[in-house]
């Protein structure tokens, strides 16, 4: 690789060493060829952008799918030319999506959103961008592994998207792919080639997540600059750190889960299959348990929720403190609650399984652990609000999205209290109530966090500013539409409407909530169109945005001490040394309303 000496530089024997010999670092970057700079880059900043742009493309696909199936749900049985135009006669004859295509779209929408946008996209973008910059490192511990992680992610994305085009359709059993439905091509057409590709794609995805996660952990532990104690790390890094640990501990379980399913599908084993009669004959193999799959799947699946959510919360802590011009309230409590959430997230997976026939006593244990998570989550919510209290709030687009995030996090978190209660879950399990809950608490919060991150760190990524006015329009339409889509779904679900239904026309007792469906769909379409504002703003500003100053938001963290045009190695001179925590905003002992982390303490000043 052309820049191998750079990666060499990023392996300092000790921090002090690094300061010494990396002085001429910035002068190498002009040697990079186009390919090593844009395609096979080992620079964490470029890899971060690669993740982001890939995730944006995946997001566009997933949102388009959701608009298409919202057309079916809002106006079931009506013809829409666009569905036929996009899906063709096989899946949408006469402009009406058929049931198989509907299930495939729901499945792929969920898969792409959870894994490719909110895991790969969110962590991939911001862990790569922020960990070296905010810890004070020249790059990740291993730039090469980091590049491989992006390429595994890219291959996985390509395979997942290509599965939409196979003859019998993409995987259609829901993003949770419960066997036996996902194991038997006779049960649903999507469980043929589409499901195989889904599993293969997922194996690549997990490889990517593991490579990336190990790199993040090692970098945070080993490559912090002088003075950057763990308790001086910005909360964004704490969140990304715990996210990486969760990923490394739980994703391998998903591999085993997926590989066993692959064996059941292709090699005649029966890990998940027992006593099945399908396609007019008894299945030749028997003796497994479909519930084994669910235990394995949710052992990843629940930590996954926090893998999605924690980076968004970390970004929010950063953006809220910066723009409220006020220290984040209760830094230690925030770190503690991230730790508590991460720990608890491993022992709550059973709350997805209250009605699977799992022993009711085991169910009560999971009720207990699940409801415990409400406490650290509440602490986070209250601390955000207290950070705003008596602050001096600048409404940058990033700040708006973070306030939106706190609102969705609280609102969606509260309905979780109902779902965590096994006795109540019985009647709302797998209904629209669940769809409403997780879209608000996880989907919206994480997306808002991601968008906030993009608006906030865009100057660092591209050296230019995004348009603020477009940002406001984007925020308000997205925010209102998000609640417009998902809030009414609570009521649809409470009335007993199951999720993943192609139509509700056959159920007279559900008709009275059906008039909410077109309203939800309209909000969904408007909300999706509003994302065009963002896409335009994003790509337009790369070339035509206002050139960014070095520290546009008056922020304390180390990334803003780098030059606007950074080479591979981040700082032209030595890496700055850290003398204080990241939240000295409006400190009365200082004139300015912010004090960057690399500013030494004044004589007699007490550090935090």
């Amino acid at each position: 690789m052309a820049d191998s000496e750079h990666t060499h530089d990023t392996h300092p024997a000790s921090h002090g060493d690094d300061h010494g010999h990396s002085h001429d670092h910035g002068h190498h970057h002009h040697e990079e060829s186009w390919i090593s700079k844009y395609i096979f880059s080992q620079d964490h900043k470029m890899i971060s952008k690669q993740f982001l742009v890939t995730a944006i493309i995946m997001g566009v696909i997933a949102v388009t799918l959701s608009v298409l199936f919202r057309l079916q749900l809002g106006w079931s049985g009506q013809s829409f030319g666009i569905t036929n135009f996009l899906l063709g006669d096989r899946w949408a004859k006469d402009g009406i999506i058929n049931a198989d295509a509907y299930l495939a779209m729901v499945t792929i929408h969920g898969t792409i959103m959870v894994f490719f946008v909110l895991t790969g996209g969110l962590s991939g973008t911001f862990a790569n961008l922020l960990i070296p910059l905010q810890c004070g490192a020249r790059d990740m511990a291993s730039g090469f592994l980091n590049m491989l992680s992006y390429y595994a992610f890219f291959i996985s994305s390509v395979i997942m998207v290509s599965s939409l085009f196979v003859e019998n359709g993409a995987a259609s059993g829901g993003w949770t792919i419960y066997p036996p439905l996902s194991a038997l091509p006779d049960a649903i057409p999507g469980s043929g080639m589409g499901m195989t590709l889904w599993l293969v794609s997922m194996v690549f995805f997990i490889a990517s997540a593991l490579l990336a996660g190990l790199n993040y952990i090692v970098t945070i532990i080993n490559l912090r600059t002088k003075g950057m104690k763990m308790m001086r790390l910005p909360l964004s890094i704490w969140a990304l750190f715990l996210t990486a640990i969760l990923g490394v501990l739980s994703f391998p379980v998903l591999v085993s889960c997926a590989v066993l399913l692959l064996m059941d599908r292709s090699f005649g084993t029966a890990f998940y299959l027992s006593d099945i009669y399908i396609a007019n004959e008894a299945l030749d193999v028997t003796g497994g348990s479909p519930l084994l799959f669910q235990h394995l799947f949710w052992f990843l699946g629940h930590p996954e929720v926090y893998i999605v959510l924690l980076p968004a919360l970390g970004i929010a802590s950063e953006v809220i403190a910066t723009n409220a011009r006020k220290p984040i309230f209760g830094y230690k409590a925030m770190v503690g609650s991230i730790l508590a959430i991460a720990l608890l997230s491993f022992i709550v997976w059973g709350h997805h399984m209250y009605v699977t026939g799992m022993n009711p006593f085991l169910g009560s244990v999971f009720v207990f652990t699940t409801l415990l998570i409400a406490i650290p989550s509440a602490v986070k919510g209250f601390n955000y609000i207290t950070t705003l209290y008596k602050g001096n709030i600048r409404f940058t687009p990033a700040m708006m999205f973070c306030i939106g995030l706190v609102s969705t996090f609280v609102t969606g978190g509260l309905t979780g209290i109902i779902l965590a209660d096994s006795a109540l879950d019985v009647n709302v399990h797998d209904t629209y109530f669940v769809v409403a809950h997780f879209h608000i608490v996880m989907g919206m919060s994480a997306i808002f966090g991601m968008l906030a991150g993009v608006y906030h760190w865009y100057p660092k990524m591209y050296g230019r500013m995004m348009n603020t006015k477009l940002g406001y329009a984007h925020f308000w339409v997205t925010f209102v539409c998000a609640f417009g889509v998902f809030f009414p779904m609570h009521f649809v679900g409470m009335a007993g409407s199951p999720r993943r239904y192609y139509a509700y026309s056959e159920f007279p007792f559900l008709q009275w909530v059906e008039d909410l469906q077109p309203i939800i769909s309209i909000f969904a379409i408007v909300g999706a169109l509003a994302q065009l504002l963002f896409l335009f703003n994003f790509f337009y500003s790369i070339w035509y945005g206002q050139v960014a100053p070095q520290n546009p938001w008056g922020s304390n963290t180390l990334e803003w001490t780098t030059p606007v045009k950074m080479g591979h190695g981040n700082w032209d001179g030595p890496i700055p040394e850290v003398h204080r925590w990241a939240y000295d905003y409006s400190n009365p002992e200082h004139e300015e309303d912010f004090v960057p982390q690399n500013v030494p303490l004044k004589p007699g000043e007490h550090g935090h």
Partner: protein, 413 residues
């Protein structure tokens, strides 16, 4: 029409591009920067926060009023407890929703940026943090204890006198099995399933017929291979041999069943008087213990009016007990809807027709129920006249359960 839409979209994009350019030009002229949020912008967004809060809260209240009465009164004993728990939780979370969101939007509005003001340098406050760890903690303790009391009551063992009913799911309809006069379900096995025996109930006759059929099929294939070996393509022969091997294994599994059956043939007799129907008929005020079985993939038996749900898992029998308390006729009167019916729906995605995998539930008075069950033919009797067997032809399994009005008496009589 399409052209018009495309035209509008293109124009919209051009408009945005132009507006952005104009915006940028004026910024350059005024020398204003994107990152410098003007006082006007801060004020506008602060006020929009307030406007949004009011709109959000009012629409929430409207939704509560219009759709808050989400289901008819619970038609089961535990349903009453579940609904009480639900209202308690809903009151609690609704209160918290208004309080916390209100606080969030209020502080966002109140403390928008003013140049002449400096934010309060407040680092932490242990008393406050203790407060909002303990208050949610205390609330959670109440929610957990109250929830688990209800849960334990719901899921405890069924009483001695409870009635057992099997709910059997398959793509894409439900079958209901009653144990008949002996109150014992006959043993069933997937290897016994045939067009006439959809649950695979084992009887001695059935077993002999099945073994005979398999032997016949094996003989036929072996014969066909032996006589046509020269003409048949090799692949076809291999496929046929594989099929024979499969049948041999199925036969072996059936023979194993006989050996495993400790109580001898008595369990195979229990199935003779079992009753299979397409709709679920229940007596009122009697505890029912459901046993759920699935033939192919995971389904979920969801009975929203009874606040009851349990997955049906192939290979893993599951249970749920409940006592219906309101007959269909009474519920029709309460709701003033003569066409009302309780419904059992599938609530775990199971294939293309998942969205219409349903059946009716009819709750009778005790006398009516006895009347109804006495009119039902037993499994062996229906097997003798296969035309009347519910869902017996393969084509039926692709239809919805609803239109097959076979043996059932009219509901709610």
């Amino acid at each position: 029409m399409k052209l018009l839409i495309i035209l509008v979209l293109v124009l919209a994009i051009i408009a945005i591009v132009q507006l952005t350019k104009v915006n940028q030009l004026t910024r350059t002229l005024r020398q204003s920067r994107e990152e410098e949020i003007t006082n006007a912008d801060n004020k506008m967004n602060a006020w929009l926060m307030m406007v949004w809060m009011i709109v959000f809260f009012i629409s929430t209240i409207v939704l509560y009023i219009r759709y808050g009465n989400y289901l008819p009164p619970p038609a089961s004993e535990h349903g009453v407890d579940v609904d009480k728990l639900m209202s308690f939780n809903i009151w609690f979370i609704t209160g918290a929703f208004f309080l916390i969101n209100g606080a969030l939007f209020w502080v966002s509005f109140k403390y928008y940026y003013r140049k002449d003001r400096k934010a309060w340098f407040q680092v932490h406050d242990n008393r406050l943090e203790m407060l909002w760890t303990l208050i949610p903690g205390a609330f959670m303790a109440v929610v957990i204890i109250y929830g688990l009391i209800t849960w334990n009551k719901m899921t405890g063992p069924a009483g001695e006198n409870s009635m057992r009913i099997e709910l059997y799911s398959k793509q894409f309809n439900w079958l209901v099995r009653y144990p008949g006069e002996d109150k014992v379900f006959g043993t069933a096995n997937v290897n016994m399933i045939s067009a006439m025996n959809q649950l695979g109930i084992i009887t001695e006759d059935g077993m002999n017929t099945m073994l005979g059929e398999i032997d016949g099929k094996i003989a036929q294939y072996t014969d066909s291979i032996n006589t046509n070996r020269a003409q048949l393509p090799e692949l076809r022969i291999e496929a046929m041999e594989n099929q024979i091997y499969k049948w041999q294994r199925q036969k072996q599994r059936l023979l194993d069943l006989g050996e495993r059956e400790e109580q001898g043939l008595s369990a195979w007799v229990a199935g003779k008087d079992d009753i299979i129907t397409l709709e679920l008929h229940l007596p009122v005020n009697r505890e029912i213990e459901f046993i759920f079985t699935s033939q192919d993939v995971i389904h979920s038996a969801y009975m929203p009016h009874f606040r009851a749900q349990m997955n049906t898992v192939p290979g893993v029998p599951t249970r749920f007990k409940m006592t219906p308390t309101i007959t269909t006729a009474e519920m029709r009167e309460t709701l003033k809807d003569p066409s009302f019916d309780y419904i059992l729906l599938c609530n775990k995605v199971c294939g293309a027709k998942h969205f219409n995998m349903q059946t009716k539930i009819i709750v009778h008075t005790a006398a009516d129920y006895d009347n109804w069950i006495n009119q039902q033919k037993t499994y062996v009797a229906t097997e003798a006249s296969p035309a009347e067997t519910p869902g017996s032809t393969p084509a039926d399994s692709t239809l919805s359960a609803q239109p097959i009005a076979s043996l059932q008496a009219a509901p709610g009589h």
